[in-house]
């Protein structure tokens, strides 16, 4: 029987949405810079840092029970914040009569899209590089916006 490994949440690429998502699950975000911030929740302080194109909070997965339960709701909260931000930007773009402001909103939406695409490209490149280093042949297919990589190694 073969295995199934799935990430437990959507990777967070937009800092504003990540902070808003954390706040909706009860966290207090402080000491914010582009590279990291501190997150106070459940009586502990965690560091959220920007690595490999996404914001992540590290915990020791090797230690049983170390994954904090509040993390379960974070992915969904983040996805919701991305959706709300996109709706907000679309509404503002519709309502504004100033060309300059409209252009600024368009740019902001473009940045979000660029970050999303960059994350996918980075992660795809990492998978292909690691797979090839381990001796796999790699076949790539794109279907409905999802990338499928089939890795094959003769026995």
């Amino acid at each position: 029987m073969s295995g199934v490994w799935r990430e437990q949440s959507v990777p967070m690429v937009d800092q504003e949405c990540a902070h808003l998502a954390l706040e909706t699950i009860g966290a207090v975000v402080a000491d914010t810079s582009q590279a990291q911030c501190s997150v106070r929740i459940g009586g502990r302080t965690w560091i959220m840092s920007h690595t490999n194109g996404r914001y992540a909070i590290r915990y020791n997965a090797r230690q049983a029970g170390s994954r904090p339960s509040w993390m379960d709701g974070l992915g969904e909260a983040y996805a919701r914040q991305v959706q709300l931000k996109q709706e907000r930007l679309a509404r503002r773009e519709q309502l504004t009569t100033l060309d300059a402001e409209r252009e600024a909103i368009r740019q902001e939406r473009m940045v979000m899209e660029t970050e999303r695409k960059a994350l996918i490209e980075t992660r795809k490149a990492t998978v292909i590089k690691q797979a090839k280093a381990l001796g796999y042949r790699v076949k790539e297919t794109v279907q409905n916006g999802e990338v499928r990589l089939v890795l094959v190694k003769s026995g």
């Binding site: 029987m1 073969s2 295995g3 199934v4 490994w5 799935r6 990430e7 949440s9 959507v10 990777p11 690429v13 490999n52 996404r54 020791n60 997965a61 090797r62 996805a79 999303r116 994350l119 996918i120 992660r123 795809k124 990492t126 998978v127 690691q130 797979a131 280093a133 381990l134 796999y136 076949k139 297919t141 279907q143 409905n144 916006g145 999802e146 990338v147 499928r148 990589l149 089939v150 890795l151 094959v152 190694k153 003769s154 026995g155």
Partner: protein
């Protein structure tokens, strides 16, 4: 008719010939030592869905050659699994069934599912006989059967296969016989 399922994959290339829709049926009491999918053991986990909905989804998935049922133990929900197999065959899709049972352990209804499938892999996963270089099997005791003529001429080239899916939001999922070394290197496992 309802079925309890653990996970679905709209299309995959490593669970049988061609492009296949894959369904992990929830619930298994066989509890093989070293099982790769213990998250699908509980009969109350996963989600409840209707067989008709699943079959309709297959109809709207382009370029499918067939479906693959694994788990969990598909034959422990033999009624709905029988209905799924019938639905797939009506659409001309091939059926690949995984079961941890040996052929001689199958009840009449289970045997019906076996006989209607084009490819069946039988037998418990035996951790001591684990071999990730086998195609479609996890341990050397497991046997590939071809109950219908559809794939009887197929030459199974033994190979190690892994499939990585990257969603439009950048979320990674890995299927197949991935090693810890590979999973760690792509940050799916710490």
């Amino acid at each position: 008719m309802k079925i309890q399922i653990g996970h679905t994959l709209e299309s995959s290339e490593i669970y049988g010939p061609g492009l296949r829709s894959v369904l992990w049926v929830q619930g298994c009491t066989l509890a093989c030592k070293g099982c790769w999918n213990t998250q699908y053991w509980s009969s109350t986990g996963g989600i409840t869905t209707s067989v008709d909905e699943i079959v309709e989804k297959w109809a709207s998935t382009p370029e499918l050659e067939g479906i693959t049922l694994l788990g969990g133990e598909p034959l422990q929900q033999v009624g709905p699994v029988h209905a799924l197999i019938r639905g797939a065959r009506r659409m001309g899709l091939s059926v690949f069934l995984y079961t941890g049972y040996e052929p001689e352990e199958l009840s009449t209804d289970m045997l019906d599912c076996f006989n209607m499938s084009d490819i069946v892999v039988t037998g418990r996963y035996v951790h001591e006989l684990r071999n990730t270089n086998l195609r479609w099997r996890g341990s050397t005791n497991q046997i590939v059967h071809f109950p219908t003529p559809r794939y009887q001429a197929l030459d199974i080239e033994e190979q190690h296969e892994v499939e990585v899916h990257l969603s439009s939001e950048g979320e990674l999922s890995v299927y197949g016989y991935a090693t810890d070394e590979f999973l760690t290197s792509i940050e799916v496992k710490s």
